[in-house]
């Protein structure tokens, strides 16, 4: 039976659980930090000595934790890439910009359990010799920023933060930094530019890998809210134990944000890869199925940037047989385990863990128009293909839903999207705005053609009518 596995959300939503420090301490709060700070240097058989920080980083590496923000990059590996020889300060930034449409998991942690996040950040900072950290929180989380400020003040008053933490001589300051409504600030190098007080134009990589040249050109770690909370649990239970949760290479738990046409939209924490898309959408403990009288049409598996799956689509994905052999299996998309690797092998991504379910009432032209409107609004404008292309696609779709569709539009959309995706832009936003177009138009082309055909017929009729002298103007077709 599929079920939730609440590790990070263990206390969230329990009656009487409040975001203040007293409540957190009653629930064993900051014990893991005490444990981390109490670690002693560990001599190895070969004569080397592992510092407490190295031991913590090793645990995170052993845990197999992958970033929960979108890219799913190994957290241990990210930490190992930090330039520790530069003698520059190392910064840590918690990415709390949560703005991928469909995602609302970090909000739950920030609003309901802020001290868990702080504990995760403090442990991660200690493990990486960081003395100054920022929480970059999206501007719309006004209350969330206040909750975090309050939590920071409480943690300082209790000696978990500030100078000489718990008498160990370790100093750390954490500050809340508010964004101001720009999606691109979720991209880590854009976020860093924004934190430097500039327009959040993503930086080109190489050379600007944050681990080497991040904030103020110093080594910088940028981790998502959920990732940093997971670090706390990894140190609590040990990396090896954590890695037993989930599935190989897709370890631990992750919080899935489920929205759209399901009976029970919400956030569900599950072991990675232990539940399928079918479980998440139809099982009574998760989505509880579609609205009565409706059938499934499409699934957006990882935020609106992800390529869409069509209901009934069959995909070939690598599977491991019980004796460990790699083989391929052809599965219905609903039977895909919800993890990083399988969803990627099936041609999409689990991204930020946001699943948007669409039933047969959804008009895919309207859905795509909505998505493209978002990307056209949010493109930072730095790279030409993305700046121009996102807007062209948006304008074509606007024209289509206003009755001005042409049969060539579907292919035109694909052509434009093809010219944005594939590394033609500085950051992944270019791919992100092209993928929904490429997948929705190619998988639901009949809907685009049907809509355009009807519009062309109507316009043709109007032209004939007006030639006969009727007072009926053709709808504008040159909106782009």
């Amino acid at each position: 039976m599929p079920s939730e596995y609440r590790l990070i959300l263990k206390h969230v939503d329990q009656p009487g659980y409040t975001p203040d420090i007293e409540c957190y301490l009653r629930h064993g709060g900051y014990e893991v930090l005490r444990k981390a700070l109490a670690l002693k240097p560990k001599p190895l058989p070969d004569g080397r000595v592992l510092s407490p920080q190295e031991q913590l980083r090793d645990e995170v590496m052993r845990s197999g934790l992958r970033g929960r923000g979108g890219a799913g990059f190994s957290c241990g590996l990210k930490w190992s890439l930090v330039d520790r020889k530069s003698r520059k300060p190392i910064y840590l930034i918690c990415n709390a910009d949560e703005s991928e449409p469909g995602t609302f998991k970090d909000r739950q942690i920030i609003y309901k359990d802020p001290h868990q996040l702080l504990e995760g950040i403090i442990i991660s900072c200690y493990a990486n010799d960081v003395h100054l950290a920022y929480i970059y929180i999206r501007g719309e989380f006004v209350e969330g920023a206040k909750i975090l400020e309050r939590a920071i003040a409480e943690a300082k008053a209790h000696g978990f933060l500030g100078k000489n933490i718990l008498g160990t001589g370790y100093d750390l300051e954490i500050y809340v930094h508010r964004g101001a409504g720009a999606y691109i600030c979720g991209e880590e190098t854009g976020l860093i530019e924004s934190l430097e007080g500039k327009r959040p134009y993503p930086r080109i990589k190489p050379p600007y890998y944050p681990a080497v040249l991040g904030l103020y050109q110093c080594p910088t770690i940028v981790n998502n809210v959920e990732t940093l909370c997971a670090v706390k649990h990894i140190i609590a239970m040990g990396g090896t134990e954590y890695a037993k949760l989930g599935t190989p290479n897709n370890t631990g738990t992750r919080i899935v944000s489920l929205s759209g046409h399901v009976k029970r939209p919400g956030y569900y924490e599950v072991e990675v890869g232990k539940v399928t898309l079918r479980d998440l959408i139809f099982d009574p403990v998760f989505g509880g199925g579609l609205r009565d009288g409706h059938t499934l049409k499409a699934i957006i598996p990882g935020g609106v940037s992800a390529k869409v799956f069509k209901a009934g689509e069959r995909v070939k994905v690598p599977r491991r047989t019980p004796d460990g052999k790699e083989t391929f299996a052809e599965l219905d998309v609903l039977d895909l385990p919800y993890d990083f690797d399988t969803i990627a092998a099936a041609g999409s991504m689990s991204g930020s863990g946001a699943i948007i379910v669409l039933d047969d009432s959804a008009d895919m032209v309207e859905v795509l128009a909505n998505i493209c409107e978002f990307f056209a609004h949010e493109s930072c404008g730095q790279c030409t293909p993305c700046r121009e292309g996102a807007l062209w696609m948006c304008k074509i779709l606007r024209r289509m839903i206003n009755g001005g569709g042409r049969k060539i539009d579907a292919d035109e959309l694909l052509r434009i999207a093809d010219n944005i995706a594939g590394g033609r832009t500085i950051c992944a936003f270019g791919d992100a705005c092209a993928w929904p177009v490429l997948s929705i138009v190619s998988k639901f082309k009949d809907e685009f053609i049907a809509r355009a055909t009807a519009a062309e017929a109507r316009r043709g009729k109007q032209t004939v009518d007006s030639e006969r002298g009727a007072q009926c103007a053709a709808e504008p077709v040159s909106a782009n």
Partner: protein, 161 residues
């Protein structure tokens, strides 16, 4: 009227600036603080911020024009932000936006924020507010409202004094 920043606000801003090793980093936080106090970011506010942080006014101005949350004109006392992104749209946010605009005598087809003549409400269709499971959602000033049916929206509006 000359632009003056009250002493307590300036003290708070100085504290914000002290949080960063490089003063320029504080610019978003300073602009938020000024906008909360004055209601919008005027040319004077831009120049004041630039001077405070040792920048050229253009360095501040280009942020005010980039980030959607900063306003270059005064807004209504109640700012209503309705989410237009996918999950909310599927749950009827376009209809909600239209009804609210009509109720307040605003044009639902107009792009960007609109303020009622009496200066009480500003209505804006915004991108994802990260609460897709309780769609449709809207914010009134700092408060988030979830599962906003039309009746609930009108009730919220009527409670705005």
């Amino acid at each position: 009227m000359s632009f003056t920043v009250p002493q307590d606000l300036e003290a708070r801003i100085d504290e914000l600036v002290s949080r960063y090793p490089v003063k320029r980093s504080a610019v978003l936080m300073v602009l938020h603080a000024l906008q909360e106090h004055f209601g919008w970011i005027s040319q004077e506010a831009i120049e004041w911020t630039a001077k405070k942080l040792g920048l050229q006014p253009i360095n501040v101005f280009e942020l005010v024009t980039f980030y959607p949350m900063f306003r270059q004109q005064p807004a209504g006392r109640y700012q209503i932000k309705i989410c237009r992104t996918l999950s909310c749209a599927l749950a009827g946010s376009h209809e909600l936006h239209k009804r609210i605009c009509e109720k307040l005598g605003l044009d639902p087809t107009k792009h960007g924020p609109q303020t009622t003549k009496d200066g009480k409400f500003t209505v804006e269709f915004v991108e994802c507010l990260a609460s897709c499971h309780t769609a449709p959602v809207m914010m009134v000033n700092e408060q988030l409202y979830e599962r906003v049916e039309q009746a609930k929206a009108f009730e919220v509006l009527s409670q705005c004094g």
